[in-house]
Subunit: 358 residues, 2 copies
DNA sequence: GGCATTGAAGTTAGCGCTAACATAGGTAGG
DNA sequence: CCTACCTATGTTAGCGCTAACTTCAATGCC
């Protein structure tokens, strides 16, 4: 049978267009008996919609299973903020959680996250070229780049919005999202003191990361408050690597008056401390309590699992992405925001009461 | 001075629209003296453009620094494939690298990656509801979900494209991206044998992951080829956790005729083996060689760093995303593809020649 | 009551790109 | 030399959404 052109149905030329499976604003609008614009206002939570209308629209959305098309939305709104996650160390343990937070917020806020690596041999100039090429609007700086003044300065010269995560010097430049490293280290030290430990060792972190200093300060403050004088032989310098933790722990544990607890500035060094203790025939936590910082995958991929400070990494990166999106939309580079999230002391199996005197 | 309406310039009503900063196809087209469509064809690598024209357009793109607007592209093409990364274990060590690969390919292919978690208490039905709500077109399944038949069956009933990464049974269902686990385990075992080890222990992985069986087989095959009879006391069962590795290593190392090398089915268990050895007063690699599998962050966050098999995780997830995008665009659920990438034996510090007889 | 004021909803146009056609110019075959 | 056909390029419309405007009705105020 040949095609019949039903009179009354005018077809401009041909129906041309590819079929689109999805439910659109127009469908919702028809179902709710309002205009597409009103639906748009409802989905964006804009004011100026009567409660009754809002309800009708919400019902229609639920009934049809409408999901806004992100591409259309960002195209119409001329949005689509492009955010670069700039990182130096691809295998950093926090990265996966960090990315999760970024993605969650990026999905919500019509932003796009691009991952860029920047390692020392590359000059900041070369990096800026790459960012310009990728049309980046804003940059996320996790540690250790969050403390790299050369990079930060270059980014700001380019007029890019910058958010620094987990830095120890949040006010230095750009937006920041942090936890209170000093207070957290203080809390952990106080926790060990409360368990009866008197000689509490400390493994400091890489001095070129500003958070390290705050953690050291928290440890020192807690000792001072407890009326304990600081003892140089209880403090060893590390650089956040497992290897450095091993060396530091061996140094701390070799003297006869060794500490009964060691608080390491991150989980890798704490795990190394556990290993060093076992090598010396010390059981954890019976003979030695060990605690870490960060609650990375390392903390639970060791035995006993580490008591540590949990940084809400996903929440932090999510907050940072939100700050950046807002900043870019505002178009105001001067107003800076600093958010401080809560940490948590996670008690696992690597700490216990101080051993009764040998 | 009042606004002057220059005659001849007709303004429909008002210039209305927000300003857009970016360079568009129209700009490139004008600069190159062609139509926007031709520019589009060039940027998409479509055929039917004369080489000379292509060059002109490329030059214009370079001159103006044009970057296509992803939102507009996916809107016009009715594309925007939505891919869910379904994972069970949020802290899995491979996840960050995995995500990097996904993001890289997603950026290239106009896809969107959404991260979804699915843990045992949740039923597959509930999961399907979530995926439907998020308008998911395709799903990535890293281990251990890549072997979860209930989940895979449910996804396929929904008509979703599925890509399973690093599974041991690639042909079972859906697309797959794998390495040759058997060959890799064979190579690692052969490597240890070549170093003069005769008693090579093996820590098997979680039996509910199909890759575990292949790794065990590779180990057994290499021993058999070397004319060594398999010895039950050289094989211990683990489940990929540090804890299980510790127990398995203790079992292997306690008898007097202990192995001089232990090949663990993943890095966590290898790291645990190193710890167990140290606890027993054995030095690695002098007294005992230990090797792992996967080359996760754990491999370098321990001392000595682990000799291990490197899986190209980022490349694998990237390939998987590419397969999924292609499958969704093709709209053909029947044609399945299986890609096998190359592994690498990474030699670090945890292995060495067999100790000369005690 | 007449007129400005406010708030809710609708209209219009266009974000940047590309699918699906239309067309110009050339090439081959009869 | 004309038609058939192909190849390179152009034209048009519209993807789904929302910015910016307009309209309309319901107030408030003198």
């Amino acid at each position: 049978m040949a095609t019949v052109n039903v009179p009354g149905i005018v077809r401009p030329k041909q129906p041309r267009r590819r079929v689109s499976a999805g439910v659109t604003v127009a469908d919702v609008a028809r179902h709710a008996g309002v205009s597409a614009m009103t639906v748009s206002r409802v989905t964006n939570g804009e004011p100026g919609v009567a409660p009754a209308t809002r309800e009708k629209v919400d019902a229609a959305i639920a009934a049809l299973g409408y999901v806004p098309n992100a591409a259309a939305r960002s195209l119409a709104g001329a949005r689509q903020t492009r955010i670069a996650l700039l990182h130096a160390n691809p295998s950093a343990a926090y990265l996966s959680e960090f990315l999760m937070g970024c993605l969650a917020q990026a999905t919500l806020g019509d932003a796009m996250v691009v991952v860029e690596q920047h390692d020392p041999p590359e000059t900041p100039q070369a990096l800026m070229g790459r960012l310009r090429k990728h049309r980046i609007d804003a940059v996320l700086l996790p540690p250790p780049l969050c403390d790299d003044t050369a990079v930060i300065a270059a980014l700001q010269r380019e007029g890019l919005a910058v958010a620094r995560i987990a830095t120890g010097a949040p006010d230095m430049a750009g937006h920041s999202v942090t936890i209170d490293d000093r207070a957290a280290a203080h809390a952990m030290t106080a926790h060990l003191l409360a368990l009866g430990h008197v000689r509490v060792g400390f493994i400091a972190g890489n001095p070129n990361q500003t958070a390290s200093g705050l953690r050291s300060r928290g440890y020192a403050d807690a000792l001072a408050e407890a009326g304990l004088e600081s003892d140089r032989s209880l403090i060893a310098q590390g650089d956040f690597t497992y290897r450095s933790g091993l060396l530091a722990a061996e140094r701390l544990l070799s003297p006869p008056d060794r500490p009964t607890a060691i608080f390491a500035s991150n989980d890798d060094m704490a795990a190394a401390t556990v290993a060093a203790a076992h090598r010396l025939g010390l059981e954890v936590p019976c003979d030695l309590s060990v605690t870490g910082f960060d609650d990375t995958a390392m903390a639970t991929a060791t035995w006993p699992e580490l008591t540590t400070i949990r940084q809400p990494i996903a929440a932090m990166s999510q907050a940072a992405v939100r700050l950046l999106i807002e900043a870019v939309r505002r178009g105001d580079t001067s107003e800076l925001r600093h958010e401080r999230l809560d940490y948590q002391l996670v008690r696992r199996g690597s700490d216990g009461p101080a051993p009764t005197l040998r």
